[in-house]
C-alpha cells in the first residue's frame, strides 16, 4: 500500500494536472481540546459522549494507538484506553476553529467545498499564477494552519476529488501526498475495494464474493459482472472510479439540505413528559441553528429509535417554511404522538425509547420567504420571541433564555450535553459531576 514515504507519491511527486486538494484536519476535535489545554499534549485524549451510551467523536493519535476509533462506543474506548482523558464535545469551539481554517482555504481559492467541520475540497487551478503549483499551495496551507491555528492537517493532491481524498487519508497524520495524474492507476489499483467511494461493508463483501479484493480487480472485471452484484448505477459508478475517473467538480455552493439534532438517552425513556422536554430541547437547538444560518425549511421530520433498535422516521410538510422552534416542536410532537399514542394520555407511557431526533428539511433562505400569517396569532409571536432570545444568547450564552420546561436540565443526557465550567477536565471523568 503506498504510504507517505513512497517516493512515487511523496510530497515532491509531479503535481502537473493535479488541481484538486483535499484537506483533512488531524483528530480535529481532540486537537482543538489539546490546543486549549496544553497540559494534555502527548496524552491520549478522547472527545465524545461521556454518558453510558456515548459514542467517540474524535480521538488523538495517542488514543488511537490503543485502538480507539471514532464512532466507537465510549464504553469500549474506556476499556481499551483507561488512561485517556475523556471530554464532552464543545461544538462552539470546533465551529470557531473550523471557520478560521475554512477562511485560510478561501484566501487561496473561492472554490472551496466543505464536507464537514474538519475537511474540504479545494480547486486551486486558478490560483497557479498567483500562488504557484498545487503542491506548493498545499504546503503553504499546512504551514498557515499550523502557524495561525496551532493545528495540523493532512493534504492529498490529485487530479480528481476521489483521488485527492484517498491521498489525504494516506498522508495522515500531518502529511502531504501528491498522486501524479499519470500515476493514478498505479496508486489506486493496489488499494482494497473498500477504498472506493461508495463501497461500504456490504458492497465490499459482495465484491469479495466475486473474487475482487483490490481496486485493480474491479477495474479489470467485466462491467456485466459488477452489474449483477451491485445493480446498474453502482456498477457504472465503481467501474469509472476504479479507472481513476471522477468527473465531480469542486462545488462551493454545497448548501445545507437539512438541519437536525438528536439525542440518545442514557436509559430508555417511556415518560411522555421527559420525551416532550427532550423534543422541545431538540427543536430549540434546530431552530437556533436554522436562524443562525439564515435558513427556514418546509418539512419537519422526526426520528424515533426504540430500545430494540427499530428506527422509525416520520415527516410532515408544513404550510409555510419555518425557522421557529415552537412551530418545529409542535409539528414534531404531533408526529411523535401519532406514532406513540401512549404519549397523549396524561400519565401514559410510550414504548421504551432510546433515541429521538428532530430535523428540518427543504431549506431555503429565510429572509425572502413569504410567511402565511395565521388568524388570531399575535403580531409579535414566537418568531419574534425567539429572535429576541437569540440576541440575548449571543451576548450572554445559550443558557440564559430557554423554555421554562427546560430549566433545571437540558435533557436526560446531562453528562454529555453540558460541559460544566469549573470541572477540572483532568479529574476522573467516570464519576459524573
Amino acid at each position: 500500500m503506498p504510504r507517505g514515504g513512497d517516493p512515487r507519491f511523496g510530497a515532491d511527486a509531479d503535481d502537473t494536472d493535479c488541481p484538486i486538494l483535499h484537506v483533512d484536519m488531524d483528530a480535529f476535535f481532540a486537537s482543538v481540546e489539546v490546543r486549549r489545554r496544553p497540559e494534555l499534549r502527548g496524552r491520549p485524549v478522547v472527545v465524545g459522549g461521556v454518558g453510558p451510551r456515548g459514542v467517540v467523536s474524535s480521538a488523538s493519535y495517542e488514543a488511537r494507538a490503543y485502538g480507539v476509533r471514532s464512532a466507537m462506543p465510549t464504553m469500549r474506548a474506556r476499556a481499551l484506553c483507561p488512561g485517556a482523558v475523556f471530554l464532552p464535545p464543545d461544538f462552539a469551539q470546533y465551529s470557531a476553529a473550523s471557520r478560521a481554517v475554512m477562511q485560510i482555504f478561501r484566501d487561496v481559492t473561492p472554490l472551496v467545498e466543505p464536507l464537514s467541520l474538519d475537511e474540504a475540497f479545494l480547486d486551486v487551478a486558478g490560483a497557479r499564477r498567483l500562488l504557484g503549483r498545487p503542491a506548493r499551495i498545499a504546503r503553504m496551507i499546512r504551514q498557515r494552519i499550523f502557524e495561525e491555528q496551532r493545528l495540523t492537517c493532512s493534504v492529498g493532491v490529485g487530479p480528481s476529488k476521489f483521488v485527492a481524498k484517498l491521498g489525504s487519508s494516506r498522508a495522515k497524520p500531518d502529511g502531504l501526498l501528491v498522486v501524479p495524474a499519470d500515476r493514478v492507476l498505479e496508486f489506486l489499483h493496489p488499494l482494497p475495494v473498500g477504498a472506493l467511494w461508495g463501497v461500504g461493508e456490504r458492497a465490499a463483501e459482495k465484491l469479495h464474493r466475486l473474487g475482487l479484493s483490490t481496486v485493480g480487480d474491479v477495474a479489470a472485471a467485466p462491467i456485466g459482472m459488477l452489474r449483477g452484484a451491485l445493480g446498474e448505477a453502482a456498477a457504472a459508478h465503481l467501474h469509472e472510479l476504479s479507472r481513476g475517473r471522477d468527473p465531480r467538480r469542486v462545488n462551493p455552493e454545497q448548501a445545507e439540505k437539512s438541519i437536525g439534532a438528536e439525542v440518545t438517552f442514557d436509559d430508555d425513556v417511556v415518560d411522555p413528559v421527559a420525551l416532550r422536554r427532550a423534543m422541545l430541547s431538540l427543536a430549540q437547538k434546530v431552530g437556533a441553528r436554522l436562524r443562525a444560518a439564515g435558513h427556514a425549511g418546509r418539512t419537519v421530520s422526526i426520528k424515533v429509535r426504540l430500545a430494540d433498535f427499530r428506527t422509525v422516521n416520520r415527516s410532515r410538510t408544513v404550510d409555510g417554511a419555518t425557522d421557529v422552534a415552537r412551530e418545529i416542536f409542535e409539528t414534531s410532537w404531533a408526529l411523535f404522538t401519532a406514532l406513540q399514542p401512549g404519549a397523549r394520555a396524561p400519565g401514559g407511557a410510550t414504548e421504551p425509547i432510546r433515541l429521538v431526533g428532530v430535523r428540518v428539511e427543504g431549506l431555503a433562505p429565510a429572509g425572502t420567504l413569504p410567511r402565511q400569517l395565521a388568524l388570531g396569532a399575535p403580531e409579535h409571536g414566537w418568531r419574534e420571541a425567539e429572535a429576541a432570545a437569540d440576541a440575548a444568547a449571543a451576548r450572554f450564552g445559550r443558557s440564559v433564555v430557554r423554555p421554562a420546561s427546560l430549566l433545571g436540565g437540558d435533557d436526560l443526557r446531562r453528562t454529555e450535553n453540558r460541559p460544566r465550567p469549573g470541572v477540572d477536565p483532568l479529574s476522573d471523568p467516570r464519576t459524573p459531576s
Binding site: R298, D319, G320, A321, A334, A338, G367, T368, L369, P370, R371, Q372, L373, A374, L375, G376, A377, E379
Partner: protein, 377 residues
C-alpha cells in the same frame, strides 16, 4: 327476506350508504350495508361508529327480513345493472340478486353481529334543503384538513332562535354564514361542532332532493354528542367533535376597514387562476389596488413571473397584499354573487370578502376572512 325493487332507487340508496363505509373497517361487519325489509319498505343502512346513514326505499315485499352484504360490492353491482326491476332474496347464507338475465350470488355476514344504529336525537328545527346545501358548501371550504388539529376540521353550528350560523376556519381563513331557519323551539340556543366532511357530504346529498332538512341535535340526555339530519327518505347521524374550547372566532372579523375594493368575481377568479400558474405551492399572488384598478402578480425575481391588470373600484390608500391563491379562489367561488367586496385594514391584517349584487351592494349573510401572506420585497 324477499323483495322486488326499482333498479335506480336501489342503486342510489346503496351508493349513498356505501360511500360512508370505512375502507379498512375495524370489524368486518362494518364493511357491510344492511338491507332490512318490513311493511313494504326497504331500509338500506351503513355505520362506522362515527357516522350512520340510512335510506328508505319503497319495495314490493314478499317476505320481511334482513341481510348484511359487502357495501362496496353491492354498490358496484347495482350501478352496473340494466334498467329493469331487481329481485333480491336471502337464501341460506347467501343473497340472490336477479335483474333481467343477470344473476348474482353474494355471501352475507351475520346480521346479529351488526351494531344497532344510534337513535336520531330530538329534532331542533327545519331548513330549506337547497339553501342549507349551499350554505354548508360556503362554510365547509374553510375547514382544516389537518387531523392533528381536530377542532379545526369541524364546522361550528350555532343555533340562536330563528338564526342559524355556521363557521369554519383552518387558521388561515374563516368562513361564516348566517341564515334564517325554523326552530322547533323559538328560544333555542345550541352549539355543535360537526365534522366538516360529513356535514358537506350530507348537505350535498340532501340538497338536490328538495324539500326541507330536519336538523336533530340533543341538549343532554339521549343522543348527547350526536347530530342528525333527515331529508326526504334519507337520514344520517354523526358524532360531534369536542368543541367546548372552540375559540371565539367571530371576534377575528375586523371592526372597521381602511380601504375597500369592488371587483367582478368571475374576472378576478380567472385572473388569479392564470397568474397563479407561475406561483409555487407556498408563494402568494400579490394584489395591488389603486384608484386605477387592480394588478395581480405572482413569481419571484429568479423564477417565472406573471402579471395582469383588471378593473376594480377602490377607495383608500393604494395597497399591495399577498394571498395564497387557492384560499382566495375558494372564497370568491363560494360567494354565489356577481361581485365581491374586499375590505382591508392593512396588508398584514385579515381581509374580509363579502358577496355583492350587480350594483355593488353588499349581500348580507356570508363573510369570508382571509389572512394575508407577508412578503418581504
Amino acid at each position: 327476506m324477499k323483495f322486488r325493487v326499482e333498479r335506480d332507487a336501489l342503486a342510489d340508496a346503496v351508493a349513498w350508504t356505501a360511500k360512508s363505509l370505512p375502507s379498512r373497517p375495524s370489524v368486518p361487519v362494518l364493511a357491510g350495508v344492511m338491507l332490512r325489509v318490513a311493511d313494504g319498505s326497504l331500509h338500506v343502512s351503513g355505520f362506522d361508529y362515527e357516522v350512520s346513514s340510512q335510506v328508505t326505499v319503497e319495495v314490493q315485499g314478499d317476505a320481511d327480513g334482513a341481510a348484511l352484504v359487502s357495501g362496496r360490492l353491492l354498490a358496484e353491482i347495482t350501478k352496473a345493472l340494466p334498467a329493469k326491476p331487481v329481485d333480491i332474496a336471502a337464501v341460506g347464507a347467501h343473497l340472490e340478486l336477479v335483474c333481467g338475465s343477470a344473476r348474482f350470488t353474494l355471501p352475507t355476514m351475520p346480521v346479529e353481529d351488526y351494531p344497532s344504529l344510534p337513535e336520531m336525537p330530538a329534532s331542533a328545527g327545519r331548513i330549506d334543503a337547497a339553501a342549507f346545501a349551499t350554505a354548508v358548501q360556503q362554510v365547509a371550504i374553510a375547514a382544516g384538513r389537518d387531523e392533528t388539529l381536530p377542532m379545526m376540521t369541524g364546522v361550528r353550528i350555532e343555533l340562536n332562535g330563528s338564526t342559524l350560523a355556521m363557521l369554519a376556519t383552518d387558521r388561515y381563513r374563516l368562513a361564516m354564514r348566517e341564515m334564517e331557519w325554523h326552530p322547533d323551539n323559538p328560544d333555542v340556543s345550541l352549539n355543535a361542532l360537526v365534522p366538516a366532511r360529513t356535514l358537506a357530504d350530507t348537505a350535498k346529498t340532501m340538497g338536490p332532493l328538495g324539500g326541507v332538512v330536519t336538523m336533530a341535535l340533543a341538549q343532554g340526555g339521549t343522543g348527547e354528542g350526536m347530530i342528525g339530519f333527515a331529508g326526504g327518505t334519507r337520514r344520517t347521524t354523526s358524532r360531534l367533535l369536542d368543541g367546548a374550547n372552540y375559540p371565539p372566532v367571530r371576534s377575528l372579523f375586523p371592526a372597521t376597514h381602511n380601504s375597500q375594493a369592488q371587483v367582478s368575481v368571475s374576472a378576478l377568479v380567472e385572473v388569479v387562476r392564470r397568474v397563479a400558474l407561475v406561483a409555487e405551492r407556498t408563494t402568494p399572488v400579490l394584489l395591488s389596488f389603486s384608484a386605477d384598478g387592480l394588478v395581480v402578480e405572482a413569481g419571484g425575481t429568479e423564477e417565472a413571473r406573471a402579471s395582469e391588470a383588471m378593473e376594480a373600484t377602490f377607495t383608500g390608500e393604494p395597497l399591495t397584499v399577498g394571498f395564497n391563491p387557492q384560499y382566495l379562489i375558494d372564497g370568491l367561488q363560494n360567494l354565489n354573487a356577481p361581485h365581491a367586496v374586499l375590505s382591508f385594514v392593512d396588508a398584514f391584517k385579515p381581509a374580509v370578502i363579502t358577496p355583492a349584487d350587480a350594483d355593488g351592494e353588499i349581500i348580507p349573510g356570508y363573510r369570508y376572512l382571509i389572512m394575508p401572506i407577508r412578503v418581504t420585497r
